[in-house]
Assembly symmetry: D2
Homo-oligomer: 371 residues x 4
C-alpha cells in the first residue's frame, strides 16, 4: 500500500517502510506507551484490572459492584450505559443517567471509568462523564466513530472486532492516532470461530503478537472471550502470565438476574478469589497490580478533572507540529518550482479556525453539585 | 429471548413465538416483499442487476461505466462516494461531489442509484441524492447508523457482516424495520473463513436459507465474495440459478488502474458476456431481467422524485398505527387497575411532536438546476 | 517450496515453477481430465448426478432408492458401507454386506458405484466391489489412505476437508496422483465456518477456482454442505449454473427414519423435482446430463468389469515411464562423475519386484454367481 | 444421541445421561486421570514439559536437542519419525531408523518418548519403540487409526483437529477409550481461524473447558498453535497459569536449517530461558515441574520396559469385565423370554479367541542388544 508521506508527519523516519500503520507501529515508540488516567498507569509495570457490571442497571447495583472490585484491587471501573445489542428488543442500557452514575461512583471511589460510545454524536457527552472511551467490537471499523472518539480528548479503549485480523485492528487504531491521540488501549476480547462451546475464542496469541507489533498497551477481556464465568479466572491468570497490560472483567452482584451477559459475569462473592489467583501468577514474575496513586484529596481530584484538558492540549500540540512540518514540506516543494511558500507554521490559518465553532461539539466538563 | 409485546405492534399475531425478529420474519408477509424504486422492482419476477464502479473516481469514469452496464441490461447503478477503507491512508471516496455525479448520471440514464452511507449524520444527505441507502458489511451492527438509515425515507440495502450469522443479519434488519421501514434488501457478500485463496467465501446457502426465513428480497455480491473478476460471472449465474432476487457487481472501464478493488472489478468490455451468461441461466427457468419501466418523460421523473416522499409517508402511517395500537393496549391495562387511559389514538401527543424539529435533519430533496 | 525434480518425472516442463502441485495442476492437462467409469463420463460435456442413500441400510432400501434415482436421470449410485461417524456409538454401516449390495444393485441398474474407504487395509476390498473409491472429508490428509486408494486401480473421489484450503486439497490430490493415478474427482462439500444455521458452508467459489487451477473434474455435494433437504435443490441448480462437473446427493425413501443424515436427505418422492430444476438450469446453457452409454448386454458388462484392470495397467505404464525417465537422469548424472549408470530402463529391477508379493493386497475382481 | 446401554458397560451409572461420551466424561473419574509413563506422571501435581525436534533428522541432532531439554527440566522427549506433510514432496521423516534413534536416546537419558503414528498398520511398530503414541491433528477423526493406537498398549496423545470442536475431540477420545485404554492425553494445538498472522490460533479456553468436561489430562502445544518461536515462551507461561497438565514444545539446535517447522522451533540456546519463565509462573502458584523419578538403574529400566505389558493387561481386564457384564445382561433378557442364557462370564468364548491370531499384529517388545 503506498503511503502518502504528506499525511504521515515527522515520525516517518522511524517507521518501517512496509508497515501500513506508522503511528501505532512499535518502531514509533520502541519503549512502549504508558497511559496515565485518573492516577492509574496502563502499559507500565503494574497489571491493570478493570472490573464492573456489563450494564449499569441501578445506582445500588453499581455501588455494590464497584466497592467490591475496588476492595479487591481493581483499579478501573467498567460499566455500560449505552449497550449495543444484537436484538433491538434487548435491554440497551440506561443511557445518560447510567453515565452519570458511573461518573459519580468512580469519583467517589477514586477509580477512573471506562464506558462504551456508540454514536459519533455522543462522543462529547460520553467524554464529559467517562475517563476512557470504549469502542466496542461491532464498531471497530466504524470510522466515523473512531475519529469522533479520537478527537474527544480521552484515552480510547479499542476492542478487536469479532473477525478482525491483527493488522485490521492496528489500522483501526491508526484512524484514532491520526486524530492526534496516541492514548489508545487495544483489547483482545475473543474472535469468532467454528467453536460454539465458548461464546468466542480467546486469541491470547494475538495479544502476545500485538505486543511485538505496536507500542500501545494491550489488555484482554476474558468475559466476552469465554462467555462462561468459570473460565474467567483461569484465562485472567493466563493473560497475566503472557505479559499483557491488564484485563477487563464483568462482575455482578447477582449474575443470574443480570440484565445483560449474566452467564459470563463473575459474582461479586467470587471476585476476590479471581484476584488472588491473578496476584499469585504475577507474584511468580515479580509484578504488582497497578493501583491508583490517588487518595481523594481535593488537589488530586482537580488533577484528575484536568486530565481531559491535558489530553486535548497534547492532541492539539501534536497536530500543530505535524501541520507545521507538512507546511514546511509544501513550502519547500513550491520554492523548487519558483512559487512562494504560503504554508509555513507562522501562517496560522488553523489558529483562526479554532476560534470558530469547529470544537463546539466538545462541551465543557460538567461537575455535578454533589461532586 | 423474551420479546416485549408492547414493542412489537399488531403484526404480533402472525409472528412465530420463537423467532426473535418478527417484522422481517417470513410469516409477517408470506407472499414476500417487492420494493419499487425508480421504476425498478426488487423482489419480484425480474432478476435485478446492480452494477457500477466500486468508487466514483470521476464523472467520465462513472459515465462510461454506467452507460455500458445500462446498455447490457443492468437496472440499478451502484457506486461509492463515501468509502469505508481498512487503512486510513487509502482512497476514501469523493464524498459529496461523488454523490452528485451519481445522482446526475442515474437520472440521465433512468437508473436508480445505490450508494453507501457511513455516518448517521450523513443519512439525510445521502438520501437526498441516492435512491437506495447501502449499509456496508463493517457497519451491519452499527445500530445508530441502522436507525438513521431506516428513518431516511429510502429503501435500505443491508449487507451481511463478515462474520455475522443469518440470525444476526435478520436482527440488524429488524432494527431498520422498527423505524417503520420495511423496504429492506439483504445482501450476501461473502463471509470471512480460513480460506485465503478468495477474498471472502460466498455463502450462497445463506442466501437460500434467508429466502425461507424472511420476506425481504435477498441479493448476492459476487465481487466482494470472491475478490476475483474471473469468478464474478460463474457466481452470478449460480446466484441466478439459486433463485435470489439479483446481484450487485463491480464494473470498471480499466480495472488495473481502479482506485479501489480493481482485482474484483469486471472490465466494461467483459460485462456483456457476464450478462449473457446470466440471461441464459435465467432463460432455462423462464425468468426475465428486471428492467426499469421508466422512459424519461417528465411524469415518470416526477413519480420517481416523489418516491422518497411516499417512503416517508408509508413509514409515518405504519408508526402511527403501531402507536395507536400500543396506546389502546396500555389504556386497556390501565382500565383493569382502575386508572383512566390516556394513550388512546385521539390523544395526539406525537402529532404535536412532529410540528417541532424532530424531523429537521431530513432535508428536502434538492433538484439541481440542470436536472 | 523447493520441488525436487527427480521426483516429478517428465511432466515437469509443462508445470509452472511456483505451483507446489505439478501433476494435478491445470497446466499438466490444459484440456481437462475426462474420466470414464462404467459407461459414464465425468468431466466431459454431460453433467453428472451421483445419488443414493447416506448409508446402505438394507437391500430393500438401496433397491428402492437406486431405481428411483436412476429413473430420474442420476448416472452414478452412491451409498455408504463403511461410515465414519463422529461418535463411536452411532451406526457405522453394514460393512462388507453393504459393499456387496451396492455392487449388485449397481450392476443390475447399469450404474457405477461410489463408496467410501476408511482404512488403507480395506482399499483392495472396496475396489473389488465399487467403481469409484471415495476418500471422505475427515481423511483428506490421511496420507496412508490416499496412497492406498491411489494404488487400487479405481478412480478416486476426494472430498475437501472441513477446514482444508484449496491448495491443501490439491496437494492431497497430488498424493494420489503420485501413485500413478490421475483419475481423481475433487468434491467441494462445504467447509466449517462460524455459521451454525447450516451444517457446513458451501464454498461454491472454491469449486469455480479449482476449475482454474486443476485439470481434474470438480463436483459439489449440496447435502453435506447444507445439511438441510430443502436447500439441496437450489444449491444443485447453482452448482450446475457455475459450471462444475456434477453433484453428489443423498436420497432416501424415508428421510425421517434414516439411520444417518436424515435431515439432509432428499426424499425419493422429491428427487424428480430436483432433477427437473437442474435440467432446466442446464438447458439454458445447452448442457445435457451425463448418462451411461451402457445397456446391460454382456459385452458392455465385460468392458465395465475390465475397467479396473485397465486402471491398474494405465497406472503401471505411467509409473514405468516415470521410473525410466528418473533412471536415465540418474545415469546421466553418474556418467558426469565417471561412474557407470545402473538405472537405465533396460535394468528391470522393478519388473522383478512385481513378480513378488508387493501387489498381493490387490485381490482379483470377484464376480458373484448371480452376476 | 441415543446411546445403546449394552455397549457402554458398567460405568453407565456414573455417566450423565445427556453426554455423548461416557468413558472420558469427567463424571467417570471425578478425581482426574494420572498417567504414569517411564517414571513420569502426567495429569498429577507436576507440570510436564515434552520437548524435542519436530522431526528426527539425525542421531547427532536428536542427541544434542534431547540432552539440552533434559538438562533444563523437560521430562518427555518428543520427535517425529513418520511426518505427515501437506505436500508429498516435503521431508516425510526418517521412518523406522528415526524410531530407533528416539528409543535409544530416550532410554539413555531416562526420558519417555512420544512420537506420531500415521498408519493403523504401523501402530505395533511404533508401540515397540515409543512410550506414548501420538495421533496428529490431521488424523483426529481417522477412526481406524484411533482404534489401532488404542489397542497398542501404550498411552495415546490425541491432538485436536484443526477445526474440531471440543465435543468432537472428546468423541474421538471415546473411540480410543472403547478399546479399553483410558491412558489418553488430550492436546490443544491451535485451531484454524481467519487469522493468518499466526499459523493457527491457540484456543487456551478450550484447554480450560476440557478440564471441566473430562477426567483426562490436557496439554498445550504452543509451537504449532503460534508457528512463531518468539511466542512459544509467553504461551507456555500462559498455559501453565491456566492450570493445564503440561506443554509440548518443538526445539532445534539450529532452527533456520531445520527440515521441518523451523519458524516455530525454539533454539536449544533459548530453551533454558523458556523453562525459567515457566518455572517462575508455576512458582507463584506453588506448582513443581514433573520430573522422572527414575535413575537408570536396571530395576527401574525393567519396570519401565514392562509398562506396555501392564498397559495391555489393564486393557484386557477392563474389556473382560465389560464383556462379562454385557453377557450377564443378555442372559437376563433371554431368561425373561424363556431361552437359556449362553453368555455368562463362565462361557469363555473370547478366551479361546485370544489363543488364535487376533492379536498377532501386536508384536513383542523388542530390546536392542545395546540396551
Amino acid at each position: 500500500m503506498p503511503l502518502e508521506s504528506k499525511e504521515r508527519g515527522d515520525s516517518q523516519e522511524l517507521a518501517p517502510t512496509d508497515a501500513p500503520y506508522t503511528r501505532v507501529h512499535r518502531s514509533a515508540r520502541p519503549e512502549g506507551t504508558r497511559i496515565r488516567v485518573g492516577g492509574v498507569e496502563i502499559g507500565g509495570e503494574g497489571f491493570v484490572v478493570a472490573a464492573g457490571p456489563c450494564a449499569v442497571e441501578s445506582r445500588a447495583q453499581l455501588d455494590r459492584t464497584a466497592r467490591a472490585v475496588a476492595a479487591s484491587g481493581a483499579s478501573v471501573l467498567r460499566g455500560g450505559a449505552f449497550k449495543p445489542r444484537t436484538s433491538p428488543y434487548a435491554f440497551r442500557g440506561l443511557g445518560r443517567p447510567g453515565l452519570e452514575m458511573l461518573r459519580d461512583v468512580g469519583r467517589e471511589l477514586g477509580m477512573p471509568v471506562v464506558t462504551e460510545v456508540l454514536d459519533p454524536g455522543d462522543a462529547g457527552l460520553v467524554a464529559d462523564h467517562a475517563d476512557i472511551l470504549q469502542i466496542g467490537a461491532r464498531n471497530m471499523q466504524n470510522y466515523a466513530l473512531l475519529e469522533a472518539a479520537g478527537r474527544a480528548g480521552r484515552p480510547v479503549l479499542l476492542k478487536r472486532g469479532l473477525s478482525a485480523t491483527i493488522e485490521e485492528l492496528l489500522l483501526a487504531a491508526e484512524y484514532v492516532a491520526l486524530q492526534g491521540n496516541l492514548d489508545i488501549i487495544l483489547c483482545e476480547r475473543g474472535i469468532r470461530t467454528f467453536e460454539t462451546a465458548t461464546r468466542n475464542t480467546l486469541d491470547l496469541g494475538a495479544a502476545v503478537l500485538l505486543g511485538e507489533r505496536t507500542h500501545l498497551p494491550v489488555i484482554v477481556d476474558p468475559s466476552h472471550a469465554s462467555g462462561r464465568a468459570s473460565m474467567v479466572g483461569p484465562l485472567s491468570m493466563a493473560a497475566a502470565a503472557a505479559g499483557v497490560a491488564g484485563v477487563i472483567v464483568e462482575v455482578h452482584p447477582d449474575p443470574r438476574h443480570a440484565l445483560c451477559d449474566g452467564a459470563q459475569s463473575v459474582a461479586v462473592s467470587e471476585f476476590p478469589a479471581l484476584m488472588g489467583g491473578v496476584a499469585s501468577t504475577l507474584a511468580g514474575r515479580g509484578r504488582p497490580f497497578s493501583t491508583p496513586s490517588a487518595s481523594l484529596d481535593p488537589e488530586t481530584r482537580l488533577e484528575w478533572e484536568t486530565e481531559r484538558l491535558k489530553g486535548l492540549d497534547r492532541m492539539l500540540v501534536r497536530l500543530a507540529r505535524e501541520r507545521a512540518a507538512a507546511g514546511l514540506r509544501i513550502d519547500a516543494l513550491q520554492s523548487k518550482i519558483g512559487r512562494p511558500g504560503r504554508n509555513a507554521p507562522d501562517a496560522p490559518a488553523w489558529q483562526e479556525g479554532i476560534r470558530g465553532d469547529s470544537c463546539s461539539h466538545l462541551k465543557p466538563v460538567t461537575t455535578s453539585p454533589t461532586d
